[in-house]
Amino acid sequence: MTLSNIVVLVKYVPDATGDRKFEADNTVDRVGVDGLLSELDEYAVEQALQIKEKRPDEEITVTALTVGPAAAEAAVRKALQMGADKAVHVQDDAIAGSDAIATSLVLAKAIEKIGVPELIVGGLASTDGGLSVVPAMLAERLGLPQVTLAAVVESQGDQVRIKRDGDSATEVIGGTLPLVLSVTDQSGEARYPSFKGIMAAKKKPLEALTLADIGVDASEVGIDAAWTKVETVTERPARTAGEIVKDEDGSGATALVEFLASKKFI
């Protein structure tokens, strides 16, 4: 099998350094806050581009796919600036408040609509919800294997090999295309868009799809279709700064030991 199409999943997330909040219906506020391409998805874009660059004899198209509100276009734009060839943005008011299950449905249907590629690449997790389950759900829906949490990616022909740091071992995983791949922030620094890349991105195709376009009924997505329900959201009280001492000639160590003893850790 030759590799002709790679789809990269990218997500528009609230900026973690800004003020992240919830809406009245307990969904993440994705409109009233500053957003950007999830940092962890930049690594996915980077690896997709590197795979393409390492296989110059094949005609490979890298498509960035996102699901989200109008502002989410910024996420695919950034992917285009980095070097993706085209972008697809699924946008529909009905999608707001969707859980991972509905998100994976929308992604699966969008991918079936644009054509199931040999390789789908995603990040380690989003920087907001952070569930890390969408690649597994998407793989299940498309009937594909998944090779996840790659720190190193190699591909040749229809074979993909990755290296990953598991909890108890370093593993090498092999898979045969087509498959779903997820990469970690260990996989290599993501490139910054060059000026040329930014200019070129303006001319690249960006396709907008609605739920009707991909054959998903509005009743299957959104907060009312969620298979889980948030009952309450509580802001954790800010930690109040405790006692800070300056170490002078060992006084810091003595004070620290006293603190540990007072809390019964020793």
């Binding site: 998944q146 092999g174 889980t228 329900k229 509580t234 700064a241 800070i244 300056k246 603190f259």
Partner: protein, 320 residues
């Protein structure tokens, strides 16, 4: 009483502590049924272990044909056991593997999934989960409203409870599709045992960052005196001082121990996301402006290379 399936987390038959925590949670919901997927020769010992922590039933699935094939076969096993037992809930460890299994299972069973639960309680007929989100800044209570609740539970969400269950062993012959056997572990290099507790499971974590300058001797010395796990900041991992498995933070492990000691770690949001729900936080840092000091219960402005060895020596002395 309905069965509650608990996926047993083990290494070559040695059952890991989070499994016992899941069994304690399962008891709140119904009758715990452990699902052991592993070697036939390891099953008896594992079954005894989970029985001692309350498993009323132990499904044993011989993994001879599926060993090394990642998560897809395990999701199929759970799907088939769920179909046969109609459980009230399915609990899996919220490890990377556990969450992937749960993700596939949720689609297979058309059931809602909650990940990274830090608590699970029964409220009337509802199973209510608690999650900590946005770097621990918010607490979310939620429940599954469709299908069989599938819950991926974080380590330390409950205390293991000793107390034998019925422990009836049932050999379960699962049918694994060829499609599930396509991604495979081709080589595995077990990490060298450190003799320390595992990072995500430890009651105390002692971490080092850029301020160690690459020398973790003082950090490890304190960790061993406290019986703690060793962690590292992203800066320390990116510098090659510790493998990625040690990283605490958004892109590493998220820990929530009783005590977290951050040494030479500035406390960037990346790191805070991985430790800010710890019960007690201590920091040692030369820079009194370091943002980590905003979080701490106790902080020492000083050089970790002199402070930590003195603390370690005093702890060792007191322990006699």
């Amino acid at each position: 009483m309905s069965e509650v399936l608990v996926l047993v987390d083990h290494v070559d038959g040695a059952v890991k502590k989070p499994t016992y925590e899941l069994l304690a949670i399962a008891k709140r919901i119904g009758s715990p049924s452990a699902v052991f997927i592993g070697g036939a020769d390891q099953a008896a010992a594992a079954a005894d272990a989970v029985k001692a922590y309350g498993a009323d039933k132990v499904y044993v699935v011989d993994d001879a044909e599926i060993k090394g094939y990642l998560v897809a076969p395990k999701a199929e096993v759970l799907e088939q056991i769920a179909a046969a037992s109609s459980p009230a809930a399915i609990l899996v460890p919220a490890s990377a593997e556990g969450k992937e299994i749960a993700g596939r299972l949720a689609i297979k069973l058309s059931s809602g999934l909650i990940t990274d639960a830090v608590d699970v309680q029964v409220n009337g007929s509802d199973i209510v989960t608690t999650q900590s989100v946005f770097a621990g800044n918010f607490t979310v209570d939620a429940k599954v409203v469709k299908g069989t609740p599938i819950i991926a539970v974080k380590p330390n969400a409950a205390a293991p409870e000793e107390g034998a269950g019925a422990g009836a062993v049932e050999q379960f012959a699962a049918t694994i599709s060829d499609g599930a056997k396509t991604a495979q572990i081709v080589a595995s290099q077990p990490r060298q045992a450190t003799g320390r507790p595992e990072l995500t499971e430890a009651a105390i974590v002692v971490s080092g960052g850029r301020g160690t300058g690459g020398d973790f001797t003082a950090v490890e010395g304190l960790a061993d005196a406290l019986g703690a796990a060793v962690g590292a900041s992203r800066a320390a991992v990116d510098s090659g001082w510790k493998p990625h498995a040690f990283q605490v933070g958004q892109t590493g492990k998220v820990v929530s121990p009783q005590l977290y000691v951050a040494n030479g770690i500035s406390g960037a949001i990346q790191h805070r996301a991985g430790m800010q729900t710890s019960k007690t936080i201590i920091a040692v840092n030369k820079d009194e402006e370091a943002p980590i000091f905003e979080l701490v219960d106790f902080g020492v402005v000083g050089d970790l290379h002199s402070v930590l060895p003195a603390v370690t020596a005093e702890i060792v002395k007191r322990k006699g």
